[in-house]
Symmetry: D2
Subunit: 361 residues, 4 copies
Amino acid sequence: MSGNSFGSLFRYSTFGESHGPAIGCVIDGVPSRIALAEADIQPWLDRRKPGQSRFTTQRREADQVRILSGVFEGLTTGTPIGLLIENTDQRSKDYSEIAEKFRPGHADYTYQVKYGIRDYRGGGRSSARETAMRVAAGAVARKVLDSLVPGGVVIRAAMVQMGPHTIDRSRWDWSELANNPFWCPDATAARLWESFLDEVRKAGSSTGGVVEVVAENVPAGLGEPVYDKLDADIAKALMSINAVKGVEIGDGFAVAALSGEDNADQMRMKDGHVHFLSNHAGGILGGISTGQTIVARMALKPTSSVLTPRLTVDKHGNEVEISTKGRHDPCVAIRGVPVGEAMVAVTLADHLLRQRAYAGS
Amino acid sequence: MSGNSFGSLFRYSTFGESHGPAIGCVIDGVPSRIALAEADIQPWLDRRKPGQSRFTTQRREADQVRILSGVFEGLTTGTPIGLLIENTDQRSKDYSEIAEKFRPGHADYTYQVKYGIRDYRGGGRSSARETAMRVAAGAVARKVLDSLVPGGVVIRAAMVQMGPHTIDRSRWDWSELANNPFWCPDATAARLWESFLDEVRKAGSSTGGVVEVVAENVPAGLGEPVYDKLDADIAKALMSINAVKGVEIGDGFAVAALSGEDNADQMRMKDGHVHFLSNHAGGILGGISTGQTIVARMALKPTSSVLTPRLTVDKHGNEVEISTKGRHDPCVAIRGVPVGEAMVAVTLADHLLRQRAYAGS
Amino acid sequence: MSGNSFGSLFRYSTFGESHGPAIGCVIDGVPSRIALAEADIQPWLDRRKPGQSRFTTQRREADQVRILSGVFEGLTTGTPIGLLIENTDQRSKDYSEIAEKFRPGHADYTYQVKYGIRDYRGGGRSSARETAMRVAAGAVARKVLDSLVPGGVVIRAAMVQMGPHTIDRSRWDWSELANNPFWCPDATAARLWESFLDEVRKAGSSTGGVVEVVAENVPAGLGEPVYDKLDADIAKALMSINAVKGVEIGDGFAVAALSGEDNADQMRMKDGHVHFLSNHAGGILGGISTGQTIVARMALKPTSSVLTPRLTVDKHGNEVEISTKGRHDPCVAIRGVPVGEAMVAVTLADHLLRQRAYAGS
Amino acid sequence: MSGNSFGSLFRYSTFGESHGPAIGCVIDGVPSRIALAEADIQPWLDRRKPGQSRFTTQRREADQVRILSGVFEGLTTGTPIGLLIENTDQRSKDYSEIAEKFRPGHADYTYQVKYGIRDYRGGGRSSARETAMRVAAGAVARKVLDSLVPGGVVIRAAMVQMGPHTIDRSRWDWSELANNPFWCPDATAARLWESFLDEVRKAGSSTGGVVEVVAENVPAGLGEPVYDKLDADIAKALMSINAVKGVEIGDGFAVAALSGEDNADQMRMKDGHVHFLSNHAGGILGGISTGQTIVARMALKPTSSVLTPRLTVDKHGNEVEISTKGRHDPCVAIRGVPVGEAMVAVTLADHLLRQRAYAGS
């Protein structure tokens, strides 16, 4: 109830602060006899790792994950999987300013009010560092999905908007993601974003963005109405990511302006299977997956760590100013891409297990 | 795990189908000695009740709630509160068509795939009828909040967009809600919506909408990072409502285009208290309430029950057409307004109890 | 978290007080397409019903159960099952004494301390009346078990000790249960108990007892170590029953005096299957069912509602005396028999669903 | 749902196998600003540590605990507490025998049936090694209790029976526990036990025992009826400990033979407070603590690792024999003493937080 676990049947609990000795998690609920090794997790962590381009924070973390339990002779045993990553780059810097002042737009103030104490070093628990364990859990969730779903489940994400600049969906090409540091599927947009973000970065400013997560080959029937609908749980999963302020499924907010005729995804038969003529629903109806591709989007705010001084107060109730020098992310949405994928993966793995439990007699 | 409960400490479980004998719920986790009577719940149900204007379904339900337990001599006893509403208007009509065919955009198909059986009468469990119990639970949550928070918590909602037509926020007037059947705070917009929706209705079509929920006087410190953030739980709560496809907190998707300077809500002191100069965050930072007004929005899709025939398939895999005659909601977002309020109320009550449990030593 | 629900995947929540208008429950997690009707539940309720002999309380309740949801055309639909029983025999009697005084050995004092208020009529929520819903949920659990386990699961209970008088296990005959009002499997013991209990009853006194629950044909592999072991969950289930003060699995407390050689249930092969030569373990090893018969026992205390005046205090802190006249159970363990069965049934159904969720790839 | 977590509001999740690289846990739900350091946990671990006398297994583990998160400048921060203990004594021995054969009375067979795979080295997850994390979590729970309950809560346990030999309660002296390796409060019994257990040990046999846990100064009002009664949760907590087969509260099974007059703990006033004249109830009535001392007992079976060959089968269905040479515990109940204390501590901490959440308005 204290908020550091996610999921019900595929459930993981994370711990760790930005500048503590280590971060880690326990994953409980992985079926037995699934092949699993550190090499299944590490590549996903490497994609999230900071410092890979000039557009993400320059913190240098090896992010080397160790499996401490739950695997025997290369297979899961059905017992909990303990994962650990040592923190290696905890620069000893001067924290006296943020120890005293609340950065506007950060969790500094609310953690102080809620807990009466906070580990201010690097943001403590509220740091995006915690998302490394989300990505690790997501990697294990992918193994579960691929092991239990024939053909496997493909979960990918891309950035579709940076600041005011959106992509052109007609140019969407998944292979472009490897060619730019933004996970942008539109080569033309990526070039524009590069110059835009360079300006933002040089100005010591920051910008927001929108990430789209797409899950293909998800079996129909996942989701537990009426409160644990698949879309409700995806909404929670994505909204729990640092900086996210909005979540959409399928057409999202655009449905408000649609007519019922246009919104309804009509159905035909194809090769003996139900086939939808469109996907306004984003693969979910009544909270249950339809078998179509699941489409979810999330909007991430710009970090408030900016060079321009901002008005704030300190712990003692004095009115002060604050500005952020040194390393920071000009667009935190970039690093949100692998995290968004991971959260959809853990949500789907959880619902897959739930569906197995209740499968009709 | 089967999805019919919401909340952790303030937790309620609902049951009931559209055309069964009754719907009901159990609310577990109400502190003792709070004044509670049916008269505290009924007015909220009456606001949600269908058939109050020509713009909502013409189903006639008394929606008379009975408290079956948990209250003694006018006060809660700390034991579970059972609530029951008999279904009175289950018109015996001919269901042969929807028993066989899947309405596109409805949960018909997914319920059939998931469960291998469905109560098709009036939509069964997937009907919006279930939301009556959400409103009832929300009414009890309001009593909890008002009892435990000095000054009480005010939770209101309004429709801010119908179809393509948005309100003008400079004309926002809460008192206007009583003057139109749309919960619209902008009198000018309400007049436009009326003619727009009449056309939609007469055409046998439907339209979507956006609802904004606002909670005032919420104590700072509510929310359990990192997975049970207050905004994550609100997102789940709202996304679990029928027809909702998008959720925003504060500036929502607009944050993507903002700079870090503009997005940061700066802080000053006022009368010895922290005072924010803006509220882009919608009252939540790092998943914890700031003490500012909480602002959440949700987008509801148009119902797919429309007069124009739509392509679909039937249970036997035949390609067929379907169209909906008879009573339906031209804009389901209207009835989403009291439901959205209720879901924010139960989420806040739940987090208030959690905060009490963990309050520092 | 407020304690009125049991189970995780097969989960039910009860509500209702002894003298309120009704008691009821919501069962969430029943797989779809299982045949279910009131007639599947009523016979189990009838076995628990008070007033069936002079040895149980003379309260007269029809205990007529209604299914309010979750069943369509005779089959479960996968949606929650609402059950309701109206209270019909709430004699209006004079409660002024127990409203003021705490009966020693009852929950009167602790409910008052915990909640600051209590519905004292008939014991309110702490009354054994709540166990009717346990039996109803148990009946549904039996249907789930019988539907999902080939050959079905047989869950029976018997009283094996009344007051100081134990049965002779060599005379155990399940068919004897129908021949006496004590669920006693030993005809000789039953005769002794009858005269013993008549004396207790006439003296306005009460006595305790021990109930043994036996579950046959339980599949091997149920139980989730290390905290949700099958025996741990059975222990919780039985200890949650009114008046229970001790729980044993298999040999129970007798294991303390055994040697490791004697305690180990040796294994041989029989018809290609593992076969145990004894069952000291009561069918559970390492918290997981072995496939052997599960054996659990519970000790129930005598009710403290006795004629002899007892020293106590009242709400105002005065030292007073209290004695109980009128209807009461001279041996509450008798009515514990069907309740013990039911609690084992719901625990097994829950663990069966959990096992299905995690079944290896 | 996979069983490796305990508690609801004070909740911890453990991971780790006997012979893996490490064991650990995450504790979620510790209120902020409680003083906590490794030195608060280590002494409790040292009490449980094997190899401290010739009467416990000769495995040598440093059991050095590290706090990885959740503490800042000596105080808890309200964020999850990660604990880690490296396994240091994983002797590389020949496991070929137990890899193939199922030891009767062990979890070997059931783990194999349930998971289709098992880490047989040292018992893997089913090893008592996991209980080290229970003791660590219990140490943190004690800090929570002492921080939130005026005067602190004292939780102690003693062995009251070894094999057939019980203590004489009139000789109970807590200070005697330090004088013998059995946590025996009766000096005379301890001497007898020593020679008894030496014989058992030399014969390569084993014996069972009974442990009594006593919690003093527990506030009245803890426990959430009707399913999460304090005694029900203690029963689950104790029954989840390796080798436990029976649990009692207060008079336990002896209540069966009592009359209602004798069983009722009568009440008087003393210094303005309610005072009970006896404690048959073991400090719990109606599932809620009375304020009296809580008394719980558990029976532990003898380990089945004995020298005398036992009949069993192997993975391939062959009938074989097995005997255990080398280090083992002649009486596992001894090491159950600190574990029993710990499980009561975590249960009480959990219920204390729950009580805080629901405290009346």
